[in-house]
Assembly symmetry: C2
Homo-oligomer: 197 residues x 2
């Protein structure tokens, strides 16, 4: 029996930033080398140079370590206000594309997608972060609407879903690299449909 099957991570311990940083770095390495199935508390602890009981006590299970790794993944988005919808969206898409160019990020998100079907807390934490991010980007669309930059009768949520969805399609499915022109090209194509000008 593998303690990784523990249903829910426990987060009752006081934070120890140094230890958690070491565990995060170790978990990224193990994930890249062994994939999600091969990412065990044993391997993470060994890589971080700590006892496995230390990891179990702090994070409960390997799903708890995945939650630790999530950190504030999506709360670090820059607040953007260039004065135009196109300018704002291009800046955000460039920032997101940079994140996705890191193979460790792709490894992490692939593991998370499988893990959220195994552990509801992970899925909720991820969606909560995405929701905060989405509120920020929705502000951008609202300001643009107030400036008269958006066609009426279209769903601003759909505009944002199209922009983020195309990244998932290209990176996760096609295994494509997001080139330097990616952000501009996608924003322009979508804005032809959504913008008034």
């Amino acid at each position: 029996v593998d303690a990784d099957d523990a249903p829910s991570p426990r987060r009752g311990r006081p934070a120890d930033p140094n230890l958690d940083d070491a565990l995060r770095a170790a978990a990224h390495q193990v994930l890249t080398e062994y994939g999600w199935r091969g990412t065990t508390i044993e391997r993470i602890a060994e890589r971080a140079g700590v006892a496995r009981t230390t990891v179990y006590r702090r994070h409960g299970s390997v799903h708890g370590v995945l939650l630790l790794m999530m950190g504030d993944l999506y709360s670090t988005a820059p607040v953007v206000d260039t004065g135009s919808l196109r300018g704002d969206l291009v800046m955000i898409m460039r920032s997101v594309a940079r994140t996705w160019r890191d193979p460790a990020h792709v490894d992490y998100v692939c593991a998370l997608l499988a893990a959220q079907r195994e552990n509801a807390e992970l899925g909720e934490a991820y969606r909560a972060q995405m929701k905060v991010r989405r509120e920020d980007t929705t502000q951008i669309v609202r300001r643009a609407a107030a400036r008269g930059e958006i066609r009426t009768g279209l769903d601003p949520g759909l505009l944002l879903d199209l922009l983020s969805g195309v990244i998932w399609q290209r990176v996760l499915l096609d295994g494509a690299e997001l080139g330097d022109d990616f952000a501009d090209e996608v924003v322009d194509a979508v804005l032809i449909g959504f913008a008034t000008v």
Copy 2:
């Protein structure tokens, strides 16, 4: 040591459709109950009522079973030719949305995304199927372009990436249900940008 760590599935055995159907059904059940981490040859074999050595001999590893489950996932798309770009795209999006409404499909794809980072053969097989599907949908866009239905200077591949990407965004990230109006709404929003009319 878990034989699931075997790097690559072996497919040398002659096909036995009945056994493979039983294994596919068992694997879907195990995946839903235990998630990708908990999906083992042992559990699949037990659920299918066969010896685990039988599964190992036929499919090599649990990644081999995932390859078996892939089957012809994407080769069964209907050939669509309604005479208009909008009509064709709505039909395809409705068909894809139906597939994604099945939670077993979502479980499978989430497992596959994690598993393709562990086993290159799986990722290649998936991308090969997507490529065939993409060639079919590209035909649709080409016919529309020949009818003068598409703006010049826009990338038809991007049109298709936007349409499939939004499904990933909504189902995998938001955990949303794709409603009855989904296909029409998305196709209309994207076509405002891409269509000449």
